[in-house]
Amino acid sequence: MASISVKAQASSCLGVSPPLSVRRHVFGYVWGGSMDRTLSLKSHLNLIRTNAFNVCVFLVGHEEDFSGEFTIDEARRMQFAVDVMRELYSQVGVGVRKLFWRYIPVAEAGGYTSVDASEATDLTEDFSGPNDGIDVFFVTTVTDAGGWSNVQGPCDKDEKGERTGAVLEVGNSAQFLGILLAHEVGHYLGLPHAGDITNVMGDDSDGDGIGSINGSSVNLTTSQGNTMKSHCSIRPSC
């Protein structure tokens, strides 16, 4: 494969120009902290050229000085989780291209820091990021589950009547939060539960629509990758 110019690709795929920080401008991470990243810059650049999607991460009830609902450690945990998701998706050739980091201030978040399934839908109905990225909302508490997302979520954030993003609670370890994030975004990209606990999409052995994952839920199949690549969130090649 032809060598990739970081500057050229950052410009064409991410719309950024020198001076560049690989971590900040290419990977899109805004906070410091260890990442334990195994995905190389070269692999990442390959992945974001084709079959890649953008993500808009919302911190619900956050303040920039961390006087809101989240601590800096929790913010770093979310960032780490995005990195874990990138690594999990890389095995099927799907990349996470741009990250948009946004927050809903405490005063605007109202009671959305603690939500159930219905309020999670209200949240995505009331707030959204750019239309070309999948919205992921981090809240402090989901009262009735670990997270909520639709299977085969819409790309039009103005779509009526259904959840237009994934809603997750941050109260998990960073590694598990990454698997959980990959699982919920996987739903959004069209993946149902897999019937295999070692798969990112987990097990649903009794077929009741309630899935389980654990720390070993890290695999994806080629077929699942193809499903993800056919979702409307996948951006044009760059």
């Binding site: 219905s118 990021g129 654990n214």
Partner: protein
């Protein structure tokens, strides 16, 4: 809260570990399968602090596992202790309050009422919401004494809980009217799509048993203490989603008009059905109060935000329904239809305009 110290640690069964362990990374995601009786008993001992698990646990997840598996008075007692304990995290207390709202009964109500004045805004909001789901007339008196919260959303939740309890408990007309008025504070006049504006129309269809019963079995969420009809309901598509209107079981077929005109009611609950899992999440409450000319109708989200408001005017033996968008951010829409003794026909007309959404602020760390 610390999981160390006290009695000697003991090992958890695999299903219990899967449900509550913090570091085993072995927890269900979208919900929790019910635990067996031995695990439930074990979990209660753990949450009461009578035994210490050998591995660290996630207490909020443990609380969810408990109320999804067991809805006894004893579980209410355990949840009440968590809710009252200021040393527990906000997350654990909020989940405990939510759980109490899924277990109707005096024990749950007492535990919730005792925590109505907690200083934690998030917990208090969950307590108010939960009381709206399981509270009795006594809880209504306590809710009336709660000062109006500063947050508009918390204020709406409080107003909705008051109104729902008043309707469910058969409160007097004046009490219902006061609660209804409080919920309507700040609500905009209903707006419908302009006649020549682009719009989409969604027609409802009648569904009957056994389909309604099957759909009721798929509901995941509170039904606000309302007994819902398993004989008749309505399905309406909306965009990519499908909604199901469940009717209050007090509305008997053949006597719909009589039933809805007899007293104020949570007349129905509108749930969204997920396309793949087919689970139904309650999203809107249909609140009706009789007026001399027919009915006053208000449809709210589960957090109390008005979605539609309007009236049903007496017309012959039936009622003619006309509602418009009442939510601050909602796109103009109209619900119209007719209600007779044995049938309800209605449709939703939605404008092509998008809902006004917030986009948050960019993080510039």
């Amino acid at each position: 809260m610390s999981d160390t110290g006290g009695p000697p640690a003991h090992a958890l069964s695999r299903p219990l570990s899967q449900a509550i362990a913090a570091d085993a990374l072995d927890c269900p995601v979208d919900g929790l399968p019910p635990l067996g009786a031995d695990d439930v008993a074990d979990l209660k001992r753990i949450l009461r602090g009578e035994t210490t698990p050998a591995v660290p646990i996630d207490r909020a997840r443990a609380i969810r596992a408990l109320f999804r598996s067991d809805r006894s008075g004893e579980t209410s007692d355990v949840l009440g202790r968590v809710l009252a304990n200021q040393e527990e995290t906000t997350r654990a207390r909020a989940v405990a309050a939510y759980g109490l709202g899924t277990i109707p009964g005096a024990e749950s109500e007492r535990a919730l009422v005792r925590n109505l004045s907690t200083e934690d805004d998030t917990v208090r909001s969950e307590v108010v919401t939960a009381l709206g789901r399981v509270g009795s007339a006594e809880a209504l008196d306590r809710l009336k004494a709660v000062p109006d919260p500063r947050s508009p959303r918390a204020r709406r939740q409080l107003s909705l809980s008051r109104l729902v309890i008043a309707l469910r408990a058969g409160a007097g007309a004046q009490e219902i009217e006061e609660a209804r008025r409080a919920l309507r504070v700040g609500m905009r006049e209903p707006v419908a799509p302009e006649p020549d504006a682009p719009q989409r129309t969604f027609e409802s269809t009648l569904i009957e048993a056994p389909e309604v019963r099957e759909l009721l079995g798929m509901v995941d969420g509170s039904m606000y203490g309302i007994s819902l009809s398993d004989e008749v309901g309505f399905r309406v598509p909306c965009g990519r989603a499908t909604y199901v209107l469940f009717l209050n079981s007090l509305l008997k077929r053949g006597r719909f008009v009589e039933g809805v005109r007899s007293k104020g009611l949570v007349a129905g609950i509108l749930g969204a059905q997920e396309r793949v899992t087919r689970r139904v999440t309650p999203r809107y409450l249909v609140l009706s109060t009789p007026t001399p000319k027919g009915l006053d109708l208000l449809v709210t989200r589960t957090d109390g935000e008005p979605a539609f408001s309007g009236e049903a005017a007496l017309e012959g033996d039936g009622l003619r329904l006309t509602l418009g968008t009442a939510g601050e951010r909602g796109a103009p829409a109209r619900v119209d239809g007719t209600l007779s003794g044995s049938d309800l026909r209605w449709r939703l007309v939605v404008s092509g305009e998008a809902r006004q959404k917030g986009h948050g602020r960019e993080i510039r760390a």
